[in-house]
């Protein structure tokens, strides 16, 4: 028995008939075709599937699609503006806050929600805000930097200090700067 749901996904209103047991994460990935939201555990430990439901961070593997009926869902695909990354996405890029990238959509969305509620979190508040997400590649240090950097960029709480330079303006470590076409 399928049920009808009306869900706004990244600003687009959808109506779909879904099984009552269909998880929101599978709805997003397989019905809406948005594969940026990932699945990395069975038990809601990892946070890779984090999306925003009416602005709140939610682990979409713990929610049925029918529970999201009449709500507005934002996924990692829905926060950039055209070809301009969201400041949180940009900060993860700038600070090397990702390696394999699999947990990253969840971290980006959890960070976006954290900064929405607390524009200038302390390090402890960042830890509390993101302890529901697991990353196995970065050891979290650059994720901390990315969150601080995103907070600064979004809310002007301090100087944005990037440790990386854009590819177009490469500087060689212990060598003089050289500009290369890139």
């Amino acid at each position: 028995m399928k049920q009808s749901v009306a869900i706004t996904v990244n600003g687009v209103q959808r109506e779909d008939a879904v099984e009552a047991r269909l998880l929101l994460v599978h709805y997003l990935r397989e019905v809406a075709g948005l594969t940026g939201t990932h699945i990395a555990c069975d038990t809601s430990q990892c946070g890779a599937c984090t999306v925003l439901v009416d602005g709140r961070a939610v682990k979409s593997c713990t929610v049925f699609a029918v529970q999201a009926d009449s709500s507005s869902v934002t996924t990692v695909e829905g926060i950039a503006t055209g070809s301009t990354l969201h400041p949180v996405q940009q900060a993860f890029w700038d600070e090397h806050g990702l390696q394999c990238g699999f947990c990253t959509p969840g971290f980006v969305m959890a960070t976006a929600a954290l900064l929405d509620g607390n524009p200038s979190p302390t390090d402890d508040e960042i830890r509390k805000g993101l302890e529901g997400n697991l990353c196995r590649c970065t050891g979290y240090a650059n994720i901390m930097r990315a969150v601080r950097s995103a907070a600064a960029a979004m809310h002007g709480t301090g100087e944005v200090r990037s440790t990386a330079t854009p590819a177009g303006a490469a500087t060689a470590e212990s060598k003089s700067a050289a500009t290369v076409g890139g």
Partner: protein, 779 residues
């Protein structure tokens, strides 16, 4: 090489914009028309006879396409899963492992049947309807007991549970111990751990019957190995099998082998005539993806009272699991590098591989080298403690100083300066000041600990002379560099990146070597249809071997371009100057041709006699030696003696991986590596029930992976001692953090608790374990 512009630059990774915006493409993102879903029914028992399988109810469920068991696969899949020699060519037994159990299950999680259905929900429903009767058999759950004569057998028809028993001895170990003034002994356990790549395994198989072709998307570190073994097993020429490893969400050694499910998924596609997708769930990942470590070391160290190390004698008991992992005997490398950064008169190491009714162990980040470092760095601290000498001084006294250095087993450390990294790390933590603070805090009943780990690792696998006997195929590495007519470049490599950033760093190498702008260079990997045979990414080999293959192909391209320039300028080749992509006759830089112009010319008319058209080159690089990164890590902890909790106050690492291509990527590799070592030292442990062999840590609820709340910041610095092994002067950095860090953490914890008379702490140093030790000491 040309003047360095990109090599050494801290540039952002070009991989990232798609990954941060949700546009990565991992296996589960692949969707084909007509695709069905596969779910694997697994043994719930560690050891059981399968007395019957009834698939009737499952087959009758609407939407089920097929339910397949061992008999169904027999006509399609032939042969056993591969096992490499690794460091033990003369194994005592190599039992055949097939992709699916037939009559008897030897570990919990072993595939018994598969269900193929229209969607994953129906497949999961049907899996529960497969009715299997088991006769439980005695589970062998402890590898130390399993090696005793008369122990229960992992499988009834095996002679015993011993997979190998081999001894590596160098020097006169008896003389070393006879001349010792002190001997220290300890048992050091390397608990089993889960690798936990965030992306679990998975594959999509698409077999097209009238072409007899198979395309397999799979989450792997080794697409060419998977193709090699799968094509053999399915009876298809390699040219008919295409393996694609798209974006891969981490691996850490757990995706280094062909797995049963890749065979089953491919065969299921052939048997059903449908493309078939399989996604591992996390609970399956913990049960059935290979585990790391799982070893017990009994060590004895002979030394003099002045701190001179003389002899090291130990036994490595390795829990193989029910079957040899494809590379499980690689972990025996721990025996060959356990001497660490130090000179020894003699080392004798016996490795015994023991079968148990458990999931196979196989490489996990560092694979044998974290074990070796942990062993020798604990040993040095035990000696320091015994003779009352500062651990830093014992290290200094025994460091190897002259390079290249041939270690006890004939391995040649290519370059190093161990004092330099130690000195720098001690300076960064203010070692003398820390020791004073430690004294003061102890008077207040607070327990600060300082742990050192000075490591050297073997990586860059590896020279053909060493690796061909171990793996069958030599672990060389390949590249194609293709310069298109407009001067854009495609670099195609046989390695596979799953977080390491090769798309960026290999392009940095090529940009400098060719003198072509970085942005015009793309790097391709992971698809066997358009990459040369490659050996994959593991063992911190991609840069030192694969990066060199890229450089070699670029050099060949430059050589041809130089010949063409000489022809155009009507000059001798020796008179052509190549300067950052500009070619001109010596003394006349104003009249230059760019490599782009010359590339275009190679596709046109007027080439010199005998020169073929086009501009591309293929290289296979066979390194003359391994490479040997090294460094010093210092961990500072405070242990709360009321609770046993460990707080990491500082973590300082000074590493030397030779020349650096991209410092940001190197730092990131170190962060993640250190985190995994800390995780093993303090938190993680795979536990099985002693009696039944049931996995007790079967979900991420029960197995603690540290979060952002547990891990510290990492204070990094480096020294640069170029490797003489390759022209880039590079070593490897993918595993160094993990190799160094568990010893630094545990040495710090032991140092903190030394006032209680505690001289060794096993991993993981969880609060309950430490609290019990402190309470015991206080009694």
């Amino acid at each position: 090489m040309a003047v360095t512009q990109m090599v050494g630059a801290r540039i952002q990774r070009r991989e990232d914009p798609k990954l941060v915006s949700g546009h990565g493409r991992y296996v589960d993102d692949v969707r084909l028309v007509g695709m069905a879903h596969m779910v694997v029914v697994r043994s719930p028992f560690a050891h059981a006879r399968i007395t019957s399988i009834d698939t009737t109810a499952a087959r009758q469920l609407r939407g089920v396409i097929a339910v397949l068991t061992a008999g169904d696969f027999r006509p399609v899949i032939s042969g056993a899963l591969p096992v490499t020699n690794a460091f033990v060519p003369d194994k005592k037994q190599v039992p055949d492992q097939y992709p699916i159990a037939d009559g008897e299950a030897l570990y919990q999680g072993e595939p018994i049947a598969v269900v193929v259905a229209e969607d994953r929900y129906i497949a999961a429903d049907a899996a529960h309807l497969v009715s299997i009767e088991y006769e439980p058999l005695t589970a062998v759950t402890d590898h130390e007991r399993a090696m005793q004569p008369g122990a229960a057998l992992v499988k009834g028809d095996r002679p015993d549970n011993i997979g190998w028993d081999t001894t590596f001895a160098a020097g006169d170990i008896d003389a070393a111990f006879a001349s010792a003034e002190i001997v220290v002994k300890e048992r050091i356990t390397q608990q089993r751990v889960f690798p936990i790549a965030m992306e679990m395994r998975g594959c999509v198989a698409d077999y097209t019957p009238f072409e007899d072709r198979l395309t397999l998307w799979t989450s792997t570190q080794v697409p060419h190995f998977v193709r090699l073994f799968l094509s053999g097993s399915l009876g298809l020429p390699e040219s008919q099998v295409r393996v694609i490893a798209p974006d891969v969400g981490g691996a850490f050694g757990s995706k280094i082998r062909p797995y049963p499910e890749e065979y089953l998924c491919a065969a299921a596609s052939k048997l059903t005539g449908r493309p078939v997708k399989w996604n591992e769930e996390r609970s399956e990942n913990l049960l059935a993806t290979t585990h790391g470590r799982g070893q017990i070391f009994d060590i004895e160290v002979a030394a003099r009272r002045d701190g001179t190390l003389l002899g090291l004698r130990f036994t490595q008991l390795l829990d193989i699991g029910a079957y040899h992992g494809v590379f499980s005997a690689f972990q025996v490398v721990a025996c060959l590098v356990a001497g660490g950064c130090y000179g020894w008169e003699a080392i004798s190491a016996r490795s015994i591989g023991v079968f148990t009714n458990r999931t196979s162990t196989d490489p996990y980040r560092g694979a044998g080298r974290p074990e070796a470092t942990h062993l020798v760095e604990r040993a040095v601290d035990l000696v320091a403690r015994e003779i009352g000498m500062d651990p830093a001084d014992v290290r200094r006294r025994n460091f190897v100083h002259d390079f290249p250095h041939t270690n006890n087993f004939g391995l040649v450390y290519d370059s190093g300066d161990y004092d330099k990294t130690l000195d720098r790390a001690l300076e960064m933590v203010d070692y003398a000041g820390l020791r004073r603070r430690q004294e003061e805090l102890r008077k207040q009943g607070r327990y600060l600990g300082i742990g050192l780990s000075t490591y050297v690792e073997i990586c860059g696998l590896g020279p053909s002379a060493a690796t061909a006997p171990a793996a069958g195929v030599a672990l060389v590495e390949s590249s194609v560099v293709r310069v298109h007519p407009t001067g854009a470049v495609t670099v195609i490599v046989g390695t596979h990146a799953h977080g390491q950033g090769h798309d960026t760093t290999f392009a940095q190498i090529a940009a400098d070597a060719l003198g072509i702008p970085y942005a015009q260079i793309e790097v391709r990997h992971g698809d066997t249809a358009d990459t040369p045979f490659g050996y994959g990414t593991y063992g911190s080999r991609s840069l030192a071997v694969g990066g060199m293959a890229v450089l070699r192909s670029c050099q060949k391209v430059v050589e041809k371009t130089r010949q063409l320039a000489a022809h155009i300028f009507e000059a001798a080749e020796d008179d052509i100057v190549v300067d950052q992509g500009r070619y001109y006759v010596r003394g006349n830089p104003a009249d230059a041709r760019t490599i782009g112009e010359l590339a275009f010319a190679t596709y046109g008319a007027g080439l010199p006699p005998g020169m073929e058209h086009g501009l591309e080159a293929v290289s296979f690089f066979d390194p003359p030696n391994f490479v040997w990164p090294f460094g010093c890590h210092v961990c500072v902890v405070e242990v709360d003696t009321a609770t046993g909790a460990v707080h990491i106050e500082r973590y300082v690492a000074v590493d030397d991986c030779g020349n650096v291509i991209n410092p940001m990527v190197v730092d990131g590799q170190l962060h993640g590596g250190i985190a995994q070592g800390i995780a093993q030292a303090l938190f993680e442990e795979v536990r099985y029930d002693d009696e039944s062999g049931q996995l007790l840590t079967g979900s991420l609820l029960d197995y603690f992976v540290p979060t952002i709340a547990e891990l510290p910041d990492y204070e990094l610095d480096r020294t640069v001692t170029p490797s003489p092994t390759n022209e880039l002067g590079v070593k490897g950095i993918g595993e160094a953090g993990t190799i160094a860090s568990s010893a630094a953490v545990i040495n710090a914890v032991v140092d903190a608790l030394s006032p209680f008379g505690i001289r060794h702490v096993e991993m993981p140093a969880r609060p309950d374990r430490l609290w019990a030790m402190i309470e015991e000491a206080r009694r």
